[in-house]
Symmetry: C2
Subunit: 169 residues, 2 copies
Amino acid sequence: MPMVRAIGIDPGSRFTGYGIVEGDGNRLRHVQNGTIRIPPKLPFPERLKVIYDRLSSIIQDVQPHCMAIEDVFFAKNVKSALRLGQARGAAILAGVNVGLPVYEYSALQIKQAVVGYGKAGKDQVGEMIGYLFGLRELLESNAADALAVAVCHLNTHASRVRWKLPGTL
Amino acid sequence: MPMVRAIGIDPGSRFTGYGIVEGDGNRLRHVQNGTIRIPPKLPFPERLKVIYDRLSSIIQDVQPHCMAIEDVFFAKNVKSALRLGQARGAAILAGVNVGLPVYEYSALQIKQAVVGYGKAGKDQVGEMIGYLFGLRELLESNAADALAVAVCHLNTHASRVRWKLPGTL
């Protein structure tokens, strides 16, 4: 099975995490992870540009085959949903504008794929990601979530190929 | 006072309205308006790309000096806020990515600027815009709202210049 390199995104208007993972059948390899810190004093439109520009530059560098992002249904309130939605839109555009297919996974699917249990806590997801890739250094929470959605996609992708389901990159 | 051409945006994940208005002191001139219809069957990331690409192309054609967009604080619920946020993010990026300054106005400011009354209904805003520009043909609701925020910006801009407040394009 050909190697697939996925960039996972955990979007936010203050911190946007990203994590790049390569999958090759059952083997997963950590490539890179990080957190984009958006200066809170910037006007909001400029903050979206920071997310878009930084992610575009990372995508340009690491040349992933696809993007994976959590499909969000909940937020603390309407105001935070509006902010999160805009950050998420900026992140997705950084992918689709260079032709990357973008895959969305629910929190349930991500937890199921990473921890094997859909009701796992956020901490458990982070711990499992740290363990999976032998990342001893403290993994930042947004970066861990971004790696988690990339892992979720690659596992889903691997199952699809294994079971010959309608496939995707 | 130099002429300023503003593109106003009324974003939405199903319909995104745009309206281009030129302002020259107290005179406002309607340039163009329309509604981008986003095919609802497209995957959500692709829908964001439709908004971004269509607006980028309109901006390329009409070369506005700035973008004006309603600053949204309310939505029916968290789910619709997330969708609206993403559409709004895509629209803003189409502006900031080509260096346009993006100005945000509250619904109150827009109604105040267009109807002269902050608690005016949505219909009144549309009627006033149709009247203001002598647009006899039925103006679509999203396009009318987009023209309204452009008018709001140009009036605010005109007042700023007139009163020598810290100015903006």
